[in-house]
Amino acid sequence: MSTKPRVSSAIPGEEPSFGTALAHQPGLAGAFGQLYGTFWSKGALDHRTKEVTRMRNARVTDCGY
């Protein structure tokens, strides 16, 4: 695993992050944001269930972010 970001920030003045990497593709980033935002703000599942599964998925994939 890399110890430094492989993708630079596409947003001037901001440190490299997941969001600034996606910003290299604004159309895809916008579509992802709408999908992910709707998943969290609406739907049949409560927030706790979503957060527990998100965190468990991060553990399984060993993703420290």
Partner: protein, 166 residues
Amino acid sequence: MTWLNAEESSAPFDAALALRPELRDLYAAFYGKLWDDDLLPAGLLELCRLRVAQLHDCEAELAVRHAEAGVSDEQVEALANWSESELFGVAERAALALAEKMPWQHHDLTDGEYADLQAHFGEAGVVALTIGIALFDANCRLRLAFGTEPAPVEAAMPASSEGPIY
């Protein structure tokens, strides 16, 4: 057999997603944008999609072929051993190296491999490719979790935000 109570459809994956219409439409918009906006050659995306499906042994994803992406039957035949085949170009091989590792070996991706991708596709291109492969991976996981039946489709055009998600 799927356990979801979705309507019978020639696009069973789409029908399953449609049980949550808001999410289905936004997912289609996201997935379609990858193909609609000519971010990367359709053939390159198709090769990566099929290789990821092979790695997942996802028959439902493998049953879909996008004819106009321009991937030959010979290439599909050789895809499982792409690293030893001469049917793939240098840029395709760099992309397939990423597709090979993202589903199950994402921690093994090296800085050198990622730099190689950036040399071929540029930074914006490699971001699109990485998102694309993540979506192909997600499609397989969703299909396998839903128990989606394989529905062989020769979709003329690659995936689009306008049509069903095959």
